[in-house]
Symmetry: C2
Subunit: 303 residues, 2 copies
């Protein structure tokens, strides 16, 4: 019997997404940070995202439930940001055993509401389910919708040879330090980048599984391109080294490629607009050369 | 410590939905079969639904995975039907332990694709997560969007005293017989009902938790009204009695209230349009009298 641990998450997704029914209103199906749909307004795309948090995988038992709720919504908001979108509505699914305490679920909702209010999202519904009594886990799933002007939507594909590989903020050590619980979705920053006309990113995504996993996905989506990374340029958090910054994941920063001819100019404007958040060039897109990257998170894989 | 089993699902939902952020574009938030949002087209509402299936709760270990996939999507489609909507896009979240076999997940997707193709739904993305190794469960969550013309949307609220309580199909014995795996969402039927002008239902929902749980919800949403049920009129499946028909749940038929003056006329037209599916009056809405109903499914409650 073939197990999921034998093939890993990426191969599983490749298999099950073959032949998915996709109607003419689908702009982008599986494979980007959000699904993109045409809306009844020809100038506006609709964004759809689903995401889940599992106790014991995405957060530890005993974690402050309000922080769990905050993270649950903000992780999905980070995917809306990755498309340069504006979030709109969320639905919340929770599944917990019947002997779970009520106060934890109420705490999750406090965090969800706090994040929703902060980022202007309506929580319009959801679903609650029991889990079998012996299941010592808890499960939160988020569904999120958003919108983006058609001419501002940024995809994973679109990077060109020579484009500057660029990241917001600092990377690494997120899970160990607990920073992963305080996800700050880069919504405003992404919208600013998408409004930069010809200087805007050619491709963008958010860093959730780590640069080592996510950059190859962006390069693959852009026509099987490669990458050259200058490790000394990678902006690390003070409490970790460049290995952690490349491999840890859970950064929820933006990874993008900038046209080489205008990257310097854009970085200057950025420094004025967002003086507290670095925007850093860490390498460039190549035709096929690939700087070896190790680490990154993939579900089902062991070790 | 207060546990979920102490308060039950309905009380939990009442607690956590207090003070949810709801923007002006929200027509109906939590509490109906779908959330209803204004869209960029003023004549069209957007419907949003999330739903989940847990192994050991909604289906047994060893159930044909293709049937599980079919049920997962069609349960949500039944909620789109309950609003008289047309489904549009689905996202699929699965969470399973790493030692789970690949073929089961592939089977789920075969069922999901089959249902999506049959009902014209695009599967535009999703999420996969591992579960801790000791978690002997599997989890599927569906996110679904749909649309409905603004003047055709049917809600749980709207029933009036004297309205005829009416159901499609036959009820009861769904889980024991295995019928719950072959959910047939009443999409076409619901759209037909919603197009009946002044004769259309005043309120509608789908029967997922059983008449004993669901009818009180419809009556409560319609201004704390009551109900009188004629048990002899309840259309039971051949393999079960009226107790099962009222209490079992998982029927995925439509429960609606029809204006008394035109109900007979509508039933006649129905019989021509849908000769294979009964539409049956089983009682009427009252001001406060409530025929006692026992049974129905509520998560977290024991026994």
């Amino acid at each position: 019997m073939e197990k999921l641990s034998d093939i890993g998450e990426d191969a599983l997704i490749d298999r099950v997404t073959v032949g998915l029914p996709l109607g003419p209103e689908v702009v982008t199906g599986p494979g980007d940070d959000c699904a993109v749909m045409q809306s009844s307004d020809p100038e506006v795309y609709e964004l759809l995202k689903t995401d889940c948090l599992v106790e014991g995988v995405h957060f530890s038992h005993g974690t402050d439930p309000e922080q769990v709720g905050w993270k649950a919504l903000c992780r999905s908001l980070s995917d809306i940001a990755a498309m340069a979108g504006t979030p709109r509505a969320a639905l919340v699914t929770i599944a917990v055993p019947a002997d779970h305490d009520v106060s934890t679920v109420e705490g999750w909702y406090r965090g969800l509401k706090k994040a929703a209010e902060h980022y202007g999202v309506s929580i319009v519904g959801g679903e609650t389910s029991s889990l079998p009594e012996n299941a010592e886990i808890a499960f939160l799933s988020l569904m999120l919708t958003g919108t983006v002007p058609r001419d501002r939507c940024l995809f994973r594909h679109g990077a060109k040879v020579g484009d500057r590989i660029t990241v917001t903020g600092r990377l690494g050590g997120s899970f160990v330090s607990g920073r992963h619980l305080d996800v700050v979705p880069r919504l405003r920053e992404a919208q600013w980048l998408a409004s930069a006309g010809a200087d805007r990113p050619t491709a963008m995504m958010d860093l959730s599984d780590g640069l080592a996993k996510d950059l190859p996905r962006l390069a693959k989506a852009s026509g099987n391109l490669g990458w050259r990374i200058d490790f000394e340029a990678v902006p690390c958090h003070d409490d970790c080294d460049v290995g952690a910054a490349v491999g840890d994941g859970e950064d929820y920063e933006l990874l993008m490629t900038l046209p080489s001819e205008s990257a310097d100019e854009l970085l200057k404007s950025w420094a004025t607009a967002f003086s507290d958040l670095p925007l850093t060039v860490i390498g460039e897109i190549t035709e096929s050369e690939k700087t070896p990257l190790t680490g990154g998170w993939e579900h089902f894989r062991k070790g």
